[in-house]
Amino acid sequence: MKTMSRLYTTLIFVFLYAPIGILVLFSFNVSNSTGVFMGFSLDWYKELFRDSATLAALKNTLILAVTSSVIATVIGTAAAVGIDRMKNQYVKGALISATNIPMMNPDIVTGISMMLLFVFVGGLLKLDNNLSFATLLIAHITFNLPYVILSVLPKIRQLDSQLPEAAMDLGCTPMKAFFKVELPAIMPGVLSGLIMAFTLSLDDFVISYFTIGSGFETLPIRIYSMTKKRVTPDMYALSTLIFIAVLLLLILSNVISAKAEKKPKKK
């Protein structure tokens, strides 16, 4: 039974990692083929660092992911605190359901619904190019918000509601009580919401595809337009580098959390 389940798990991982193995392999290909391996070279990595359009797209993607995830985290954390305190259950339920719509709806519907809004409003205001970085940013914040709220809300529910009251009794202003008492207590939820929003934004293609304007390109959009014709292996090289970076980050975070777990035992 044990060897069976091990064999099974291995087979699934072969399936999950086969295309990744292929693209890592072809990122080292001598020729520009993504089908036949002709020999080892690092040419595509050199090519990648000369490809200014791809590097610009990477930069845009990072800027968008940072701004949208930070804004979504600020709005979302405040909203989660506000939602938790709401007295009117009806409003509370309605707001939570509405918040979850982008999570339940297919990405393509979220994308086209926002596109229609922007096109309509742009038409009313007679803007020439009504899809731009701003529309993309709005779209990303919108689909990030439910994930932030969903990861912050349970942390607030665990929080003792008497704590901020105690802080205020001891002379804190409500503002100070929030930043000194509540925020540190819900910080793990805020951080995981931020990280989730960041990665979602980094990886989003479908919603960006419908809300992006001309003159601005994110990496997934660039990859999409390249895969319409032929992908050159420098995209594979970039993916390999991203893969290695994520792998290192995950190993690092695991090592840190493993160390943190060991510490209390030593005492």
Partner: protein
């Protein structure tokens, strides 16, 4: 305390405004475009057109491919999630990390990479020829589209089922064994009913993106297997018939709401059984 309650009200306000402006309003625009013509006059034409035979074929194909992909994901993921939940806690962490890792790579490029594996001159066929076997035509078939869906969305099935399974009290399994249940009985009478909530969320998380995808069918189906997603994408990006596109999107949303309601009914019934 009055001051505090005022502050609390303000906290959710930006999000409320945001929700109305960018979640509710866009959906109303979908409905508006779906029920108007290009001049803005009210009409049922778009909805009627989306229900014509040409589009019904596409709806039917999307639903069946999505159901097949979801079913295969469930069959593959369930034993996998079970195996992970039985592993050592330290191993569990690493395996879950490995399940999630591919999701951090751009899904377009991973799907594109499947093309080099499945092509007529691709990786698998090169291997088959070397082994002295006949090459198999795989790319641009409905099987390849389903494979793309299963590949891309499998982690969404494994993770929720695993999360539920790992919480199942081991003592329940032991108790069932002590009371004379065989392994099969333990699986069907104890573990499966307790894991049903994970199965339901996994099924939704695979079914929704599968039924609405357009990239996978474009690349691995070679444009021969138009899905709902492809049809919507075409109306918005090449045909510029927003009204028809909105109507098809509206029908897609209704389809998804109906299937989720059916799913929830299932889980409620089974949940009731457990209690």
């Amino acid at each position: 305390m009055k001051q505090r309650s005022l502050l609390q009200k303000c906290l959710a306000a930006p999000h409320m405004v945001w929700t109305v402006l960018f979640i509710i309003a866009p959906l109303l625009f979908v409905a508006y475009y779906a029920f108007t013509d290009s001049e803005g006059a009210f009409t049922f034409d778009n909805i009627l057109k989306s229900l014509e035979a040409d589009y019904m074929v596409i709806f039917f194909r999307s639903i069946s491919l999505a159901i097949i992909a979801t079913f295969i994901c469930l069959i593959i993921a369930y034993p996998m999630a079970y195996a992970i939940s039985r592993a050592k806690p330290s191993a569990q962490k690493i395996i879950i990390m490995l399940v999630m890792l591919p999701m951090w790579m751009n899904f377009l490029i991973r799907t594109y990479s499947w093309m080099s594996i499945l092509e007529d001159t691709g990786f698998i066929n090169q291997l088959l020829i070397k082994l002295g076997l006949e090459p198999v035509h795989m790319i641009n078939t409905s099987g390849a589209v389903v494979l793309g869906m299963v590949y891309n969305f499998l982690p969404y099935m494994i993770l929720p089922i695993y999360t539920v399974m790992v919480k199942i009290d081991r003592r329940l399994v032991e108790a069932a064994h002590d009371l004379g249940c065989n392994s099969f009985g333990v699986m069907t009478k104890v573990i499966f009913p307790l894991s049903i909530s994970g199965v339901v969320s996994g099924v939704t998380m695979v079914f929704v993106p599968s039924i609405s995808t357009f990239y996978i069918s474009q690349k691995l189906g070679g444009g021969n297997f138009d899905l709902i997603g492809d049809t919507i994408e075409r109306q918005f990006q090449t045909a510029y018939n927003y009204n028809l596109g909105a109507a098809i999107s509206l029908i897609l949303m209704v389809l998804i709401i109906i299937s989720m309601a059916i799913m929830n009914k299932f889980s409620d019934e089974d949940g009731g059984m457990v209690v």
